[in-house]
């Protein structure tokens, strides 16, 4: 059953972890057996609640006290689960080290990072304080922190997210561990920063030769980095094997569905997304059979009665899957009978002359305050600094960029429907600055929003029916009209109208987002603003929501303004794209063309940083890793905002370089849209 290997460093055998909870015991990890081999990168992939993080915490012995653990974690012939805290602390940080997801809360806020790294050295090595300090500087240098000598004396809050994660890596490799556990190390980061941090992680591996266990939900990240992967679902490993094999020939329906449901930035026109029905299994009250069976289109009686073990696949010795029908699955995939697919994406739709939304040179600044006790204004943050956009009726326009680029501020400015600080906002032909209060209210009917996090966007104390009816009530619909519309809306988004009296807490993330969409559609709006509508959702339900949005757009001829940092999602849903950097738009154009042939160096770098969930393609790509970090919008660089990080400018002659750093480029026609660059890529 277990695929034992001679060079296994850590052997996890039959590991089970349960937590007591109010609604019953949570079976977080169920009978997991796994080897971590010397020097390899093992990817553990799963959605939230799949048990991937708990498995890694159990390995390093940092589970909360309430956890009940059984099974073995063997290292050097010792069962680590049996050790006391004192004994285990000998291994933690020296043999096994860990990198956590959120580096801000994972670092002590009141100690300098130098002190914190030196402490890790002094615990396990018999060296002097000054030798440790010297080593700290070396380590910071290794993970790519500029001016390490100086930065060692800084506190965690003085670093950016990416830099903090580098500090965490430095901390983890300080004692050259044999195994490095990385729990979602880049999830909180932007793609370009993610690329930098993954680079630092690879570099750290090369230096220490440590095995890396990469725990993530991102198939793209494992495709680029992992040698082997283990897919977890509801606390169990459902498939395990060499990364190329699992991606090329997935054997478990869950893996297959996952791989077909992930939008890809390199997708071709007309591609479809498979959607996995239902929601991820709750780790409380798991069914007796296969946990995935209720969602599996290939499920039969046998799947409901017995929990299938992880068994080796005949054709390849290192590949195993836990599926009762593993022998028949390949046939079903081949005949395309497994998962239902959404509408094909056809980016070029009928051109309409009507503008639903028009922004002209929109600007928004915030006061920059300093000091927690002695607050005072010391400058301005140029959050949105001259944004012009046009969205045509029936189209979807995606505003993309990394955090802090001003995309969300732009969106809020539009939704506020008041006169902006500078520039103009025109919605459905009405200028926000000149409309009356009454007109503004009427305009709200046509302009609705779907927020990112469906857990925050629904009031926990209102039954979903009332939440959906709230806009109807505001605009004076009668009770009977409200009820009729409610059923209609719930059916439209694929929910049962009988459930209208239930509270949001009774629905999963994907269902809640459908409820939020139903609420936004209640008044038959013309323009829907979607703020990262799927990024808070589990991977397996994203495709379902994306397919729903695509269907709705077609059925109701909606226009979408779509804000996202996820370029793959944008590629799948948008017609037009506008790329933002530091408060302004650097490139616009039809998605397909811009993504195939980016004109602005930033667009190019951004696209190159997005990992593609295909190990062969991903490893064959040459990646542009940008230098430095996004500058603060309070103090933007002169000239072109991107000039100090630009990979193109570096190879330009001196006089042209000077132009970039002094003259701010304006939007001008490019091969397939507009671009704000003095030396666009296609022009060469």
């Amino acid at each position: 059953m277990t695929l034992s290997h001679t060079d296994a460093l850590i052997q996890i055998r039959d590991l089970s972890v349960t937590f007591p909870s109010e609604s019953g015991s949570v079976e977080a990890v169920r009978n997991v057996s796994l080897d971590i081999r010397a020097g390899e990168v093992l990817g553990i992939v799963g959605e939230s609640g799949s048990g991937k993080s708990v498995t890694s915490l159990a390995t390093i012995g940092l589970l909360p006290d309430s956890a009940r653990v059984s099974g073995e974690v063997l290292y050097n012939g010792k069962n680590l689960l049996k050790l006391t805290d004192e004994e285990m602390s000998q291994y933690r940080g020296s043999d096994i080290a860990m990198i956590f997801q959120d580096p801000l809360s994972a670092l002590n806020p009141v100690q300098t990072i130098g002190h914190q790294i030196a402490e890790a050295l002094l615990i396990h090595q018999n060296i002097s304080k000054s030798a440790a300090d010297k080593k700290v500087v070396e380590l910071l240098d290794v993970v790519g922190i500029p001016k390490p000598q100086e930065r060692a004396r800084s506190y965690p809050h003085e670093f950016s997210g990416g830099m903090r994660q580098r500090v965490m890596i430095a901390l983890a490799i300080a004692n050259e561990p044999k195994v490095l556990l990385a729990d979602e190390p880049t999830t909180a980061l932007d793609v370009t920063v993610q690329a930098q941090v993954l680079d630092a992680l690879k570099h750290a591996r090369d230096i220490t030769g440590a095995a890396i266990v990469l725990v993530t939900h991102d198939m793209g990240v494992v495709a680029g980095l992992a040698d082997r992967i283990a897919i977890m679902y509801a606390g169990k490993i459902v498939e395990q094997g060499p990364v190329n094999e699992v991606f090329a020939q997935p054997a478990m329906p869950y893996t297959i569905g996952l791989l077909h449901s992930i939008p890809r930035v390199d997708a071709k026109a007309g591609s479809r997304l498979a959607s996995i029905p239902g929601s991820p299994a709750s780790p409380v009250d798991l069914p007796q059979g296969c946990a995935f069976a209720p969602r599996c289109p290939a499920a039969q009686d046998i799947c409901l009665s017995a929990n299938p073990p992880l068994v080796q696949i005949v054709s390849s010795p290192d590949h195993a899957a836990a599926c009762a029908r593993v022998d028949q699955i390949q046939g079903l995939v081949a005949s395309n009978k497994l998962f239902e697919e959404g509408p094909a994406h056809s980016p070029t739709k009928n051109e309409s002359a009507v503008n639903v939304l028009e922004l002209k040179d929109l600007k928004k600044t915030f006061p920059l305050m300093k000091g927690a006790i002695m607050r005072r204004r010391i400058g301005s943050v140029f959050a949105v600094d001259g944004v012009s956009l046009t969205l045509k009726q029936g189209q979807s326009l995606a505003l993309v960029g990394e955090s802090g680029c001003g995309k969300t501020t732009t969106l809020i400015e539009i939704l506020n429907l008041v006169a902006p600080e500078s520039g103009s906002i025109t919605v459905l032909g009405k200028n926000a600055a000149t409309i009356s209060k009454k007109e503004r209210l009427a305009l709200r009917k046509d302009l609705q929003i779907v927020f990112q996090d469906p857990f925050a966007s629904l009031d926990a104390r209102l039954p979903i029916g009332e939440a959906i009816c709230e806009p109807l009530k505001t605009f004076g619909y009668s009770k009977t009209d409200q009820r009729a519309r409610l059923s209609e809306l719930l059916l439209l988004v694929g929910l049962n109208p009988m459930h209208a009296n239930r509270f949001p807490s009774e629905f999963s993330g994907g269902q809640r987002q459908r409820i939020a969409i139903a609420r936004a559609l209640a008044l038959n709006p013309k323009l829907l603003v979607l703020d990262e509508p799927v990024s808070a959702l589990d991977v397996s339900v994203r495709a379902g929501v994306l397919n729903l949005l695509a269907e709705l757009q077609e059925k109701l001829s909606l226009s979408y303004l779509f804000v996202s940092h996820d370029l793959a999602v944008v590629q799948h849903i948008a017609d037009q794209v506008a790329v933002m950097y530091l408060g302004s738009i650097v490139e616009t154009g039809p998605v397909a063309e811009v993504f195939k042939d980016p004109q602005h160096p930033y667009t190019q770098a951004l696209l190159s940083a997005v990992p593609i969930p295909d190990p062969i393609i991903e490893r064959g790509r040459s990646r542009i890793v940008l230098q430095g970090e996004i500058p603060s919008p309070a103090n933007p660089p002169s000239g072109c905002r991107f000039h100090n990080r630009c990979q193109i400018r570096m190879i330009l002659p001196k006089d042209q370089q000077d132009r970039c750093s002094t003259e701010r480029p304006v939007m001008k026609k490019s091969t397939h849209g507009e671009v704000a660059c003095h030396f666009p890529i296609g022009a060469k």
């Binding site: 007591p20 109010e22 009250d285 209720p294 209210l441 709200r444 929003i449 925050a456 806009p471 009774e506």
Partner: protein
């Protein structure tokens, strides 16, 4: 398929039921609830079962120790007043004052805090300045100074004063929560749907701070009783001839070594009352918000 249906029904049990289950699992909270019920019974029903009234003097039994035979269960005072009847009268007063003060101060805190937090800007700054000022003012001293004004008048003035100086801390917390609620997506969604401000406050803001208000109102009952008895002890609270637990204790301590029953019963009942209220408040907090104080399932 049958199991799936059952699961859905299990999940539909409401928030209210969950809170009740959590509350009644907490032994101290249940103790507090029963204790308080008993105290209310004692304060409002027991006096009718006693043959002596609180303002009635028994000249045959002065300074009698507690005794069942002469009917003075808690003994009598120097002038023959029945200590049990007096203590129950004092308990009545302390309970009523505690409840009223908590109700008014929490209500005021909710209104001021929610408007400051939700409306923000200038309203917020003005209200916060008032709160800061009131916190700087030594409220206990000011009520003491004002005590001659309500001497011989209704004790309701005293309630108003206690409430007027007791709402600021809760208001600050309410303001903080309202401010963060304002930024929450479901409130923003309502704003962008065109829902009027007044409705947003009543439909979204207040229901979402209701649990905090219930908890705080409960804990404020205890605080109000402590303030009331303290002021009455010093002679600045409930005025004679009426009695409160505080003024009873003050009178009883003059000869406490010789006649301990004069203050001990009042003292013990006072401690028990506040203790029960705090147990209930704490139990409510754990029930509404498990994890906030590490009060999860043991």
């Amino acid at each position: 398929m049958a199991t799936k249906v059952k699961l859905e029904q299990d999940e539909t049990f409401s928030r209210g039921k969950l809170i009740r289950v959590r509350f009644f699992r907490n032994k101290l909270a249940v103790f507090g609830l029963f204790g308080l019920a008993m105290l209310f019974f004692l304060a409002f029903v027991a006096p009718h079962l006693d043959k002596f009234k609180w303002d009635q003097l028994d000249f045959d039994n002065m300074l009698s120790p507690p005794s069942l035979s002469n009917g003075h269960w808690f003994g009598t005072s120097q002038i023959g007043g029945d200590t049990f009847a007096l203590t129950m009268r004092g308990l009545q007063k302390s309970l009523i004052i505690g409840l009223l003060v908590a109700f008014f101060s929490t209500g005021l805190a909710a209104i001021v805090g929610a408007s400051a937090g939700y409306l923000a800007g200038r309203t917020d700054r003005a209200l916060m300045w008032v709160i800061d000022l009131l916190l700087v003012l030594p409220s206990f001293l000011l009520i003491a100074v004002l005590s001659p004004l309500y001497r011989g008048k209704t004790w309701l003035v005293f309630v108003v004063l206690l409430a007027a100086f007791g709402w600021m801390i809760t208001a600050r917390i309410v303001r903080g929560i309202s401010m963060s609620l304002r930024e929450r997506d479901f409130v923003r969604a309502a704003i962008y749907m065109g829902v009027p401000t007044r409705l947003i406050i009543f439909r979204h803001i207040l229901p979402n701070i209701s649990s905090l208000l219930i908890i705080d109102a409960t804990l404020n009952v205890g605080g109000a009783i402590l303030s009331e008895t303290g002021l009455s002890y010093l002679g600045f609270g409930v005025q004679p001839p009426d009695v409160s637990l505080g003024s009873l204790i003050a009178e009883g301590t003059n000869d406490a070594m010789a006649y301990p029953w004069l203050f001990l019963f009042a003292g013990m009942i006072l401690i028990l009352t506040v203790l029960c209220v705090s147990f209930i408040g704490d139990g409510l907090r754990d029930a509404f918000d498990p994890g906030a104080t590490g009060g999860q399932a043991k």
